[in-house]
Amino acid sequence: MRVLCCLDGTNVEQMKRATAMLSGSEPITLGLIYVIDTGARHDIEHTRERFLRPHGSPPSRQHEMDEAERASAKETLDEGSHCFSGAETLQRQGTPEREIVNAAVEWQADLVIVCPRGEYGGTPRVGPKSIGHTARFVLDHAPCPVLLMRPPNQGPFPRQFR
């Protein structure tokens, strides 16, 4: 089974839990994907446009941004490779949700594992709107089954008042 794990820099531990759940079934070929989100760079361009500036920051600044993005991607994928030895790594650039779906097609994934959203130290969200737009898009458009790796929820769901 070809399993594609979507890394976002905050979810390696959750991916480990997910793959542990799958072990024991058929042999797994793991793929790790990290997408450099170009949305922020487009937002910077819109700001330049609004301030009536020509397209593109100065080349030295663009180079710095490229370097920072690449270093972050490499670090995340290296972390993943360290946890999942032998896993294939895929680095993409663009809109994360679209790149993940397209990579799942190209890589012929049998299963995509995705987390609801990046967790940056806050309490993992449960309930309405707990699934971010990237995971939502992957759930809606992936060409194969998707495993949504939710954070463990301790409490029961409140019963309806009658």
């Binding site: 760079r41 487009h42 700001t47 330049r48 609004r50 301030f51 941004m65 949700e97």
Partner: protein, 435 residues
């Protein structure tokens, strides 16, 4: 052309109004994604070719706005030379160091840094130079990028009426309606603090989940590396402190701020060339020359509309809507400027408003002050509503979205729609209380 033919005055008036309105609609809708500067200069060119504006008249009009043109030049030069010194990178790293390891404190520090830069170097420097610097920093620190990016973009406008030099728009309006520094600060400093506080508060609320984490100080770039040339860096800091003091004194003495900006830029340039941190070619590339064409075109077009009486009619209409009261002036001025600035970008809106407000000079002083302060406030803060600056860009993004293409920019819009009306209302109310 019409100098050589006998054309009725009414026809000339109609044509001038038509060309003026078409130019404004062109800037608003930007057909074929044409650059605004091209549209504005084309409008001015047609007016000159048809003889609807005399070349001498156009020259006098442009010469009258010398303070605005030179301020733009000086401001962009100072920002570019400060960037070449590594000042923005150094300040961003310092902000991160002072935050300890807390993402929340770094977020607050970025707001404070953005406010400081907007106040002294204008909102352009925050939005265009600090934003990519912060993007690189938070990417290296592996923090969520979007909240920090939005913080920079929003605070650039929110903090842009702390001082007259905090936004070139202020210079455009104050060149026509000079306010003493005391009145400017009395009417706009406190509202600025109020809206900055609200901006920070609402953003903390919106992004509280993403800001709870911490970052590894080891990921921070080395502070000394940010300074590209040690001596020039110190020189730049010293000159900028002097320029900031000179700005305040010049504002208080009603001395042209453009001369302070140009002198500061020239002193920095001498240092930069001496220590070879930048050459003239690179500096030239960092200055947006098309802005001068855009403003020149707009000024000539608005001048021709002035002759038709449309702008004074617009001013009288605003005065009528305000009911001739200070409170009405603040509400109408804020709403009009904020809406207009989201339709045609804040630079042309400021030029139009500056012309329209010419007809309120017979109104009581409180009404005049109310309109001027509200126009500055609305033109400065209004762009936060869409942040993309024009209806055209917004429509373009919506069209792309409808075609199923994921676009950025709409995320800004969602935040702007929540935050900006609240800030506009609170700021207008504060101005009202201070009037």
């Amino acid at each position: 052309m019409f100098q050589y033919f006998a054309v009725p005055e009414l026809t000339k008036t109609f044509l001038a109004a038509l060309i003026g309105i078409l130019t404004l609609v062109g800037i608003m809708t930007r057909p074929f994604r044409w650059n605004e500067a091209v549209i504005a200069m084309a409008g001015a060119g047609v007016l000159l070719l048809l003889g609807l504006v005399a070349p001498a008249d156009a020259f006098i009009t442009l010469a009258r706005d010398w303070n605005t043109f030179l301020f733009f030049l000086g401001m962009m030069g100072i920002s570019a030379l400060a960037e070449a010194a590594g000042l923005f990178d150094w300040l961003a790293v310092q902000a991160a160091r002072l935050a300890g390891r807390s993402a929340t404190r770094l977020f607050l520090n970025i707001f404070l840094l953005g406010s400081l830069i907007s106040m002294i170097l204008s909102n352009d420097a925050t939005a265009l130079i600090l934003t990519p610097v912060v993007y690189v920093l938070v990417t290296k620190l592996r923090l969520p990028v979007l909240p920090f990016l939005f913080a920079c973009t929003f605070i650039a406008d929110t903090a842009s009426f702390l001082l007259p030099i905090s936004n070139p728009i202020n210079i455009i309006i104050l060149s026509r309606f000079p306010l003493s520094l005391a009145i400017f600060l009395r009417l706009l400093f406190l509202p600025s603090l109020v809206v900055i506080g609200m901006n920070v508060g609402v953003f903390f609320l919106l992004y509280r989940q993403q800001l709870r984490g911490s970052f590894d100080l080891g990921r921070l770039p080395i502070l000394e590396d940010a300074r590209r040339h040690q001596v020039y860096f110190r020189y730049t800091c010293g000159v900028l402190v002097l320029v900031a003091v000179a700005y305040v004194i010049a504002s208080a003495k009603q001395f042209p701020l453009s001369l302070v900006a140009l002198t500061g830029g020239a002193v920095l340039l001498i240092g930069a060339l001496s220590w070879k941190t930048i050459n003239l070619r690179d500096l030239g590339k960092r200055i947006s020359w098309s802005i001068f064409g855009f403003i020149a075109g707009m000024v000539i077009v608005v001048r021709s509309i002035e002759d038709t009486g449309l702008t004074s009619a617009f001013g009288n209409w605003l005065l009528h809507l305000s009911g001739g009261t200070g409170a009405g002036a603040v509400i109408v001025g804020t709403a009009g400027a904020a809406i207009g600035t989201n339709l045609i970008n804040n630079v042309p809106m400021a030029v139009v408003m500056a012309s329209a407000l010419g007809s309120i000079q017979h109104a009581p002083i409180a009404v005049q002050h109310g309109f001027v302060a509200a126009t500055i406030f609305g033109c400065d803060l209004g762009p936060n509503l869409t942040t993309v600056g024009s209806l055209a860009t917004m429509l373009w993004l919506l069209i792309l979205r409808r075609r199923g293409i994921e676009v950025s920019g709409l995320d800004y819009f969602r935040v702007g729609v929540i935050v900006t009306p609240i800030m506009l209302a609170a700021g207008a109310l504060t101005i009202l209380l201070l009037l």
